[in-house]
């Protein structure tokens, strides 16, 4: 049975049946012309939208439907994390190919709602339409942040240290592994042990964990002077934060947190693991800067953090290995 065998109302019911009861701040949920919600008290609202398009952002040949749903929400939660916002609600707009099996539709919604539940995100509305081509999953999310505590790309000052959460390059390696068809079926499932390096990398690509808690803590304890997520790679993020803040950034190559197995994967393929880790997208980690005096506040962020460089008055964005300093390679561009 495909989605084209069901009416729009039946598909909406399949989504609704997967949602928890609405919290009391939802005055009108799914099923009217629009949703009505009570804003969070004494908070600013943080809004973002991001689309996953089949053939551009994912390949259904090796991306399980649950991962498509998970990633469509995760990329948005990562943007909220980068602002330090607490996620609140989502609107889900789907353009569905007629031949999409209902089991895939259900699994996609399950992947999205499972991640939503873990972050207390309420799906309050959306839209369903047919697509004559690719599957398109467009998600809008809204979160809340205290006034003047939103983390921006602008705000870094010369002398601030530059940090990154987690590790780099594993998602890019995972995507290569999936493309090379070397990934095990096991790794494409969200749960269960991921014993091998390839299973771990594939899972990092398919089920990224947005750094929501770290972003909220960075905002609350006023530790970060600037912040951005790595959706388009570290090189891009460093360049954007530097430009928005009017500073330069010098990254220490040796400090980059790259798993030795990930290094080995890229090296075995004849790729420079540093360039791969700098320019590979899909690492939904946070890049942030902090005044050296605030280093103590950076403990207990709920994620490993690594100091990878420093902000400079000189506006160049560079990467240093020993005493050799080179321009930062260009990042991945979603568009060109």
């Amino acid at each position: 049975m495909n989605v084209s065998d069901l009416t729009e109302a039946e598909l909406i019911d399949r989504i609704r049946s997967r949602l928890p009861p609405a919290p009391d701040w939802v005055a009108v949920g799914i099923g009217d012309d629009a949703a009505v919600v009570e804003p969070a008290r004494n908070r600013q609202e943080v809004l973002t939208v991001d689309a996953l398009v089949e053939g551009i952002h994912f390949d259904r040949a090796f991306t399980p439907p649950a991962a498509i749903g998970h990633r469509a929400l995760a990329v948005n939660l990562s943007d909220l994390a980068a602002m330090g916002a607490e996620p609140r609600l989502a609107l889900v707009s789907l353009a569905l190919p007629a031949a999409l099996p209902c089991t895939d539709f259900d699994a996609m919604i399950d992947g999205l709602t499972a991640l939503a539940a873990r972050h207390s995100v309420q799906v309050v509305g959306g839209n369903l339409t047919r697509s004559p081509g690719p599957l398109v999953v467009d998600v809008t999310v809204s979160g809340a942040v205290k006034r003047r505590q939103a983390l921006r790309r602008a705000g870094a000052r010369a002398g601030d240290a530059v940090y990154v959460t987690g590790s780099l390059g594993a998602a890019a390696a995972g995507l290569q592994m999936l493309r090379a068809n070397g990934a095990t079926t096991k790794a494409t499932e969200r749960h269960g042990p991921a014993a091998s390096i390839s299973e771990r990398c594939v899972r990092r690509y398919l089920y990224p964990e947005p750094r929501v808690r770290s972003g909220m803590l960075l905002s609350r304890n006023r530790a970060a002077s600037a912040c951005m997520d790595l959706s388009d790679g570290l090189a891009d993020a460093v360049t954007q934060v530097a430009a928005a803040s009017g500073v330069g950034i010098r990254v220490d190559e040796e400090a980059l947190p790259i798993d030795p197995d990930v290094r080995a994967w890229f090296t075995a393929r004849g790729e420079d693991p540093i360039v791969a880790a700098l320019t590979g997208g899909d690492d939904y980690e946070l890049l942030f800067t902090a005044h050296p005096k605030r280093a103590r506040r950076l403990q207990s962020l709920g994620a490993t953090i690594t100091k990878i460089g420093i902000c400079t008055a000189e506006p160049a964005v560079t990467i240093r290995y020993n005493s050799d300093e080179k321009p930062m390679p260009r990042g991945y561009s979603h568009f060109a």
Copy 2:
């Protein structure tokens, strides 16, 4: 020059250059990981998303880019109107075919921002990506409404009168005219006189005017017991309002506001003009119900309104001609 010749940043700049300065309730606008806004004071927030997909909702062969941009926002403003909300902001997510000319991109944004400006809607963010297939324009809007004043589909009671704004069927006729290639070039422009009936119908299809002011007034003066927009046709709207409210609705065929020229167009094509006007989508009018005692409050809604029927305790949804009463024909479904 096509959009694929430009970077994402250059395309974003082309959008930003078309926007007015942000109002002071926008703390962070386009250009960061997410937008940050101050919620409207003492209001609930009304949120909705709607996508226009090439090949499903529009045909680029006869839909000018400005009309695509206009309609993508209009369909969303119509949903806010149906809730009685005052529009506030929009997020615009675009999936762009590589071969889309930049002039078409610009015209599409111009069409959207022109309508946004007329309704004081601020574009605070969005997303740009490539599409391997159709052009997809996904717009999320947010509006504000006083607590307990949002208009719902539920709320109609037996004995309430049923009203519709404006007139029916002209947009459906306009779409037929465009498909038949009989529409003049002049009619595809938003401005300038529209002398002929075909020009007027084509314009109704291409540049629908969402009933924002009428919706807000219906909410403020507490005149309506239920409300919904006609995006999927009157038959669908009547059926939905009746189901949500737990009443029946009897529509008087002779009362339906159909332009005589529109009647003549359908009749000349061998179609029943009543069925065409009931089931044709793209009329972004409002259907609402009101207690008979509130009829006086319905003056000065900023739109022609017509009483077309009555809510009944008996749950059937019917249409009556003289003493002959038939079931309501089924409306257009976006999905099946």
